[in-house]
Amino acid sequence: MANQWEVFVMDLGELAEGKELELTIRTLNPGIHKYTYQRVKAEVSGTLDKFADRLQVRMGRGQLSDRKFSIRVIEQVQRMPARYL
């Protein structure tokens, strides 16, 4: 089943298509882990059927954007120093 994700951006230009991006996204999948974050490398597309997962976008003050994207999560990125894990 496809995953649902959400990202906060200040500008939709942050979601450039056709290149690998590093994003902080949160899961919208139902359940107790909903809204938890992870840092990922991903590709996004404004074409909704390009990738299996969906990405919803919110702006800086929480406003939901009309623009919808599909997303492919390539891998998780661990930013936190290992000594804290």
Partner: protein, 485 residues
């Protein structure tokens, strides 16, 4: 001081509120994802009874208590007073208790501490096991801490701080929060931990007794454990944490222990704030790594839903800021007759009543107010004379609109300390906590001749003799008028 009979725990408080009709039990299932937040928001906007939600989706055994102190009635109950007590009565009681001798806390054995009934350590630690709500749709995350205390200690001075710093769940073991640089915790971090690159131990206590929450919210110089004791008339019970040396309220519902990271930050916000807006930008903020969670059986999580007036942040902060400023001004010998912040000002406007006995007294008040530890939390001071009822907005507004000279009575203070939450501030000023503040001097100048220069207030209580007033009042119903005299 007589024996105080105030609720000693969140549970006793809920019971008292249900009994007086100031809380309602909700037994149908409520979703932690927006629904609980929406209930609390509407309760705040309507001034309704506090919702005690006993059936939370996905979280059997847990409950929520929303808007715990968003009315003066519930504040009175928290203090063990008659719920119908007036604001001046509640304020007088707060001042009486907080001017008494500090009452030191007691440390109890872990076996006697309800907050240790369940202990999660190591791989079992997961914040998602707690019913952390999404308070407002569009918030940056689920907020663990909205009505709570973040407990820290300065390692050299030994100062204990219980502060209400909002905390967002980033993942199952990480939270991020807004800690302003001028706050007690902000100063401890910048003074000690950050320069050394050391982690700062913390504990978050949720579901505090209402008076402990009141202490955590109050900008008092008295350490919160002692202040809680003074407010409740007996020592607060503390117990040592599982993973650090901090001590936490033993009767709290949930304790989250861990370390504030000195050199790593994750994103926090946006969040619906006490000003009634989402103002502060999403940003990389203070990050809390969680090492342990302990909680009571059938734990109740407290939720405050900040937004347009009025919620407990506005109500309690206005209350305690006003009274703490009153104490400060009186300690300086200023003849204040009272200090009041209307909660609907979202604790931004301080109204000070004073006997205008010398020139420059309004400026002195503003300088003390803005220059004190309280100052960054409000940006307007309005000074009125002792004939104006500071609790009566009609009188205050009339004084402001008629006595505040646009050229001589408005004084702007530039480049002061502000917060990231001020809606009127520029994005740059929000980011760097740069503020500006203003004094509205509504006093008649002392060099005006009181007989010939100062206008006479034309009101029923001011221009008629007592005899005439009494005659009219006594005959009011006979004239054919209904309602109050």
């Amino acid at each position: 001081m007589g024996k105080i009979s105030a609720p000693k725990s969140n549970r006793e408080f809920i019971e008292a509120c249900v009994k007086s009709g100031d809380a309602v039990r909700i037994q149908q299932e409520v979703d932690w994802d927006n629904e609980a937040g929406a209930i609390v928001r509407r309760v705040c906007e309507l001034g309704e009874a506090a919702p005690f939600m006993e059936n939370i989706k996905d979280y059997p055994g847990f409950s929520y208590f929303g808007a715990p102190l968003s009315t003066y009635r519930r504040m009175a109950i928290a203090l063990g007073m008659d719920p119908s007590s007036t604001l001046p009565q509640i304020g007088a009681e707060y001042l009486k208790r907080t001017n008494s001798e500090p009452i030191a806390p007691v440390i109890i054995d872990k076996r006697d501490a309800p907050c240790k009934e369940n202990i999660l350590l190591g791989d079992d630690v997961d914040l998602c096991k707690l019913p952390v709500p999404l308070v407002h749709d569009g918030d940056g995350g689920r907020y663990v801490g909205t009505w709570h205390g973040v407990i820290t200690k300065h390692p050299v001075r030994g100062d204990v701080n219980w502060g209400m710093y909002r905390q967002m769940m980033w993942d199952g073991r990480t939270m991020s929060g807004a800690v302003f640089p001028f706050s007690d915790l902000g100063k401890t971090l910048t003074d000690y931990y950050l320069p050394r690159g050391e982690g700062c131990p913390f504990a978050t206590a949720i579901g505090l007794s209402p008076l402990a929450a009141m202490a955590a919210c109050a900008p008092s110089p008295i350490p919160e454990p002692e202040l809680t004791g003074m407010l409740s008339g007996e020592p607060v019970r503390l117990v040592k944490c599982e993973t650090n040396d901090l001590e936490v309220p033993a009767d709290a519902e949930i304790i989250i222990e861990g370390m504030i990271l000195p050199d790593y930050k994750v994103e926090e916000g946006p969040f619906g704030e006490y000003t009634g807006y989402r103002t502060s930008p999403r940003d990389f903020r203070v990050t809390f790594r969680v090492d342990a969670i302990t909680y009571r059986n059938n734990a109740t999580m407290t939720i405050s839903n900040m937004g347009v007036p009025q919620d407990e942040g506005q109500l309690l902060r206005s209350f305690s800021l006003g009274l703490e400023l009153e104490k400060l001004l009186k300690s300086q010998g200023i003849p204040v007759t009272g200090v009041y912040m209307h909660p609907r000002s979202t604790h931004h406007m301080m109204i000070v009543g004073v006997k205008p006995t010398y020139a420059g007294i309004a400026m002195q008040i503003a300088q003390l107010a803005f220059g004190s530890k309280l100052g960054p939390w409000f940006h307007m001071v309005m000074v009125v004379d002792d004939q104006t009822d500071i609790f009566n907005w009609d009188e205050v507004y009339h004084a402001f609109c008629t006595r505040c000279n646009p050229e001589r009575g408005i004084h702007v203070f530039k480049n002061t300390t502000g917060t990231a939450l001020y809606p009127h501030a520029t994005p740059h000023d929000r980011k760097y906590s740069i503020g500006s503040q203003v004094l509205f001097d509504c006093l008649w100048p002392v060099d005006w001749d009181k007989t010939n220069d100062v206008p006479t207030v034309v009101s029923f209580k001011n221009v008629y003799t007592k005899d005439i007033q009494e005659k009219v009042l006594n005959n009011w119903a006979d004239y054919g008028f209904r309602g109050r005299k």
